[in-house]
Symmetry: D2
Subunit: 407 residues, 4 copies
């Protein structure tokens, strides 16, 4: 394991760090307050002009698609090299998209990059990489426990050269975005197959007939406009067979392949958020006083600062180790790590943010600080992409496998 | 300690329970969804007609002002007798106000009941008891750490028969309500006195000149319309000296006296919320399946159900014990208990709700269920009315006092 | 629920408290140090003469068999009345036996009291009540997971008017005691019956042919001489059929009946131990200084004191509530509570003792203080009489039963 | 950061692993049971002949003094290279000393290696490196809170070319060993200096006049014979001035320098113990059944297995990172890490061992398994060498230092 920053990584860490500090940080608060005008009526959602300008600027500076290991389409950063960059962007609520590195578009681009046909790439991957359009991933369903992905009930009916999609999906992130043009829909296409080969992924243009957005959901009161988390209905939506990604029944295989790097990105951004929360706690806790002392020096507050530092550092090392394993041994050899960080990091973020909120008092729960938003993110991450329990079960399963002779 | 329900308590438990089940529960979801139209523009906030009708109905049924021990103005329930009633109302997000038993009006009514002059009672207590107007408590300030109440910077200038108020307050619950007519303002009036005799409480009509509402704050994204949590500015607000409650410098003494019963109410409502969250978890966890089993029977879920039950039961007994002590020994003999429940109950509620959310998946964070709201309430309760740390310090201080000879 | 102390309870609380303070506390350290001479060679174990004298004194003072509700054989204290007395004795490591109120003799006496034949009572209950002999309970077995009691493999072969016992038992508390004369053996007698009617309880004199003590076990290094926890072998041990308690297959029914009050006793003693540990922490933490302050005033120590106080008080109320339910509603109506205290109390004791040890530094782990002993007791209580997991499962099962319609 | 094993590290990992498996593991249980004969009468303590033979064998195999970075006297392993070797030895309770890598001798040898005079090295370091004698470190005192090392009251009186030592020390590990010949005594020599330059370290032969061993202490009932943890009295013990290590007042500077690598060793051994405990839990939990399933598959047990795996992996990465920093940046640049692992690792070990004990039932607390011993070690490590609270304070202090401009 060598977690040292390569020269290339150092370059991007510096460049991205500087860009955030000079260009994003100064206007973040204003952009977020623009977006606070967005209500549940998502038809009124918009993209801040500042965001558009910043994206252009980042693109011109070559700080673009950093998440993609491809040296031509992205910047050729390995998972381990991109990790500290992702951490930096995670300190900000808007930075990821400025560098075209935000979920769920990154995951969708990866799917298309690895599994898309030439036509699919041309039609959807290129404009996504250009940042011109946004995309959605339709997986979770309101009517079943999604912790068991094989519960999925939405259907893909293969009829000759057409696919007919039906079902209801929710928590489809990005669905509210004015530029959202396409989604990847996962559904049951081959019920006759083995359990993990029954589902397929299909590209759906969001103007398809029979597709409708029902509403935007809030999570801990956050609508996350202009991306949002939507509920959608697919009512006999028809798309050409060529919209199938990979082949019929490849859904889980693709999801699996997409999984590792995206997990690293999520986790590193969450670590960045934790560092930001800790920094806010330090500043607030040193600048406000009670009972004659700075808040931080009261009771067990400094112990909690230490616990935050220790938890963040451990979570980061665990994530870097997972990234290193993905890069060097492949996703299959990193299954324990990829599940472990999914459990450890969001839970660490929750604890750190909770501490920071407590130091801030009521203000910490308001939108005056990014803490409530970070908390919503942390809580959601404990569910999204498999709840804690499923990932603990995976870690345990791999531990059990070492004792196969006893089982 | 005798926690048995008196006959009177049993009567009200049954009556309130039935009323909630028959009249409130059936329309709660719809009322809450009406209120979801309320955005940060609080000038558009309104009272649901259903709420108005339900209040009328409850009043006619004699289920009104149950919190007030006075047998004439309230129903003569002791703190211990009212406790299980408060728990019942806490299962619902709207029930407390239906019975005219919602914070902060209850606390304000108690202040006026115990410390108000005859005129103050006539002018403000009576319409509050009638449920015709709503009120606000102005204490927390944005510019100082409010965990140390003596940090308060807002001023009350006594000039002859006038009081001039200046300062900025926030987290003033109820400030957004269309019927909010009056507030109790706490500020520094006597800086020459001892630390805890420098502040006074003053009644301020909300149409006073120089008073302005700056905005409504959200907590974990919840605006809590139509009550809301507001930020207000007092710019040379002038009120007659007769608006002073008690005497100059009596602020903390009044706050202290107000404290005990209100704490019981808050905590019992939170226990009700926890029971509701647990019930939702049970129902969801039994009706949804994953990996071939009901969710509840997977992994450690049933252990967490047991932990929830054990935590709720302990928290309830602790709170009933505090109520019993207040009734029988007085607030001063119940200081450990009154601080202890303030720490134990919200933290218990957080854990139970977190478990319930996890069982619900993403939906648990949305407004489809009351869980996100309960979580915001729990988190806020860890700060409101003194953060955990201050109350732990109080419990420790009282423990230390037993070893005075060693100190 | 009425947890108030009755007049009778108050009398015994005072009398026992005074007796401990005046007669036991002054010589406890010396008695414990006498017993530290006891090594694994249990043939050398002895009873301190001081203990014998104190027992005599307590008996004469009428502070004897307080655990037994029977007014003639004991003092007629209900479960709720005895609870605070048990707490007092739990502050001391030797007090319970002084009042003839120590496990496992109390449980064995209860079994004989409720289920023994007249002859069994005459032969064994009377000398036990007199404190002249000691007894053992043979249940746990080394070769199977005892968390599932139906795993029990030891056999009771009913042959005419004889019973032939075979098997191996361990963690048989009291087996090392010089006065141990009899044991209650639980084994498989009726494999043809339903799962919970296959086992019986049998009285075995410890001088029976075929019975042998293999060794004394230590728990966290504590031998707990002169009682000890032994491992024993039953090799065709023959006893008359009249030694059967209740009837064949009644083993679990008897165990169940014995369960409730004993649980209360254990838990109240553990609460007493927690109070003692907290008191030691307070005294040490106030009398020693570091970095210029008493230890207690450093970092988060006072928060931990508060958490200890809150946890102890909650655990006590939960246990008193269980006792009240047993007295007033019966064991069957108190199943949730009886399991809940079994989980909550030992875990609370662990946390409080851990805190106290931390305040004491290395000394806290040594035999200079009772803390290491309390920790061993707490840890053992999380396993003895059903591990935490089994009791959580029981609490969850009873919670599930409320939602039977959904299951 | 490059945590990859060097070729040299790999060699020693393999060799030590094989040696443990082939030579130590087969006789560990027997050796430990030999030592269980050792009681508090330490005059009877002895060294197992098997240990002596194994040491000889390891020495001949070149698996000797692996902890010492010096290529001539040790094997030239860096801190990071030795770390995984230390982890391997930590899985066993006796392996460390077989390779002459056990505390406190390693720390004492490091002190002499870095700060000893030529004569001191000749007289004491060489026989220690040869494994012929054992040594003791006299630091902690019974009469003061040792968490604040400047509390130390033992005195070193410099009188011409003599040093007169007085005081009482305890928790002096190794003091019971038959081969213990020398100790390093830390005491107050220069009260006129600044706080951290008042103490010196002095070599004391254990046959010095005025020196006496008062007793051996147990920790959670473990005497840890034949090393033991002793209490000693220094009553006008006279040694030549040349026994001073470094110079007068250098005590803390030396202690500081000794600190980093020793911390790594302790923590890596503790991680090895945790892996061993987890492995025991897996084996027991798979081979025993209850309620029709292997224990591990009941309730939340597999979640706890996952939590153990995740906690161990994080703790290991944190420790390797600390080792890497010590090797590459020096102890001063690794202060956060060196304190962090001191908090994180023992607490992780406690949790893992507690889980393993719970899976083992009563047996887990006995000496039939190494778990009770591991628990005593974990608990002691939370106190030894600075309690958790002191190290959290250090981590917090270094975090605060990043915000100096605000302080």
């Amino acid at each position: 394991m060598d977690f040292a920053h390569s020269e290339k990584a150092r370059h991007y860490i510096n460049a991205v760090g500087t860009f955030i500090q000079q260009n994003i940080a100064p206007c973040e608060k204003q952009i977020l307050s623009e977006y606070q005008q967005c209500t549940e009526d998502f038809s009124q959602w918009f993209v801040s002009e500042k965001i558009t300008a910043l994206k252009q600027q980042a693109k011109q500076a070559g700080l673009w698609n950093l998440f993609l290991p491809d040296a031509k389409l992205g910047q050729g950063l390995s998972c381990l090299e991109y990790a500290p960059v992702a951490e930096l962007t995670g300190r900000s609520l808007i930075a990821p998209e400025i560098f075209n590195c935000n979920a769920p578009d990154t995951g969708n681009m990866e799917v298309l990059y690895h599994f898309g046909s030439t036509e699919q790439k041309q039609q959807w991957l290129m404009p996504l990489l250009a940042g011109d359009i946004r995309s959605v991933f339709f997986m979770t369903e309101p009517d079943v426990a999604s912790s068991d992905a094989t519960n999925m009930q939405a259907t893909i009916d293969i009829q000759g050269d057409k696919l007919i999609l039906n079902g209801r999906k929710w928590w489809s992130t990005g669905l509210g975005h004015p530029d959202a043009k396409v989604g990847i829909f996962m559904g049951l296409s081959n019920p006759e197959n083995d359990k993990h080969q029954q589902h397929s992924m299909v590209l759906v243009p969001l103007d398809a007939h029979g597709f409708s957005i029902k509403r935007m959901l809030s999570a801990y009161g956050q609508l996350d406009a202009p991306y949002g988390h939507g509920e959608a209905e697919f009512n006999n939506v028809e798309v050409p067979l060529s919209n199938l990604i990979g082949g019929p029944g490849h859904g889980f295989a693709i999801a699996q392949g997409r999984l590792g790097p995206g997990r690293i990105h999520h986790c590193m951004r969450a670590i960045g958020a934790a560092e930001h929360a800790l920094a806010l706690a330090m500043k607030r806790g040193l600048s406000r006083t009670a009972f004659g002392k700075p808040l931080l020096k009261l009771g067990g507050n400094l112990e909690r600062v230490a616990e935050a530092r220790m938890a963040i550092d451990q979570a980061r090392l665990l994530t870097l180790n997972a990234a290193w394993k993905i890069d060097n041994l492949g996703v299959k050899q990193a299954m324990t790590e990829i599940s472990a960080i999914k459990v450890v990091v969001p839970s660490m973020l929750e604890k750190v943010v909770d501490m920071a909120i407590q130091i801030h008092g009521g203000g910490g729960m308001s939108d005056d600080f990014p803490l409530a938003h970070f908390m919503a993110m942390a809580r959601a991450l404990r569910l999204a992409d498999g709840p804690d329990e499923v990932h603990k079960a995976m870690v345990a399963k791999l531990e059990l496998a070492k004792y196969r002779e006893l089982a």
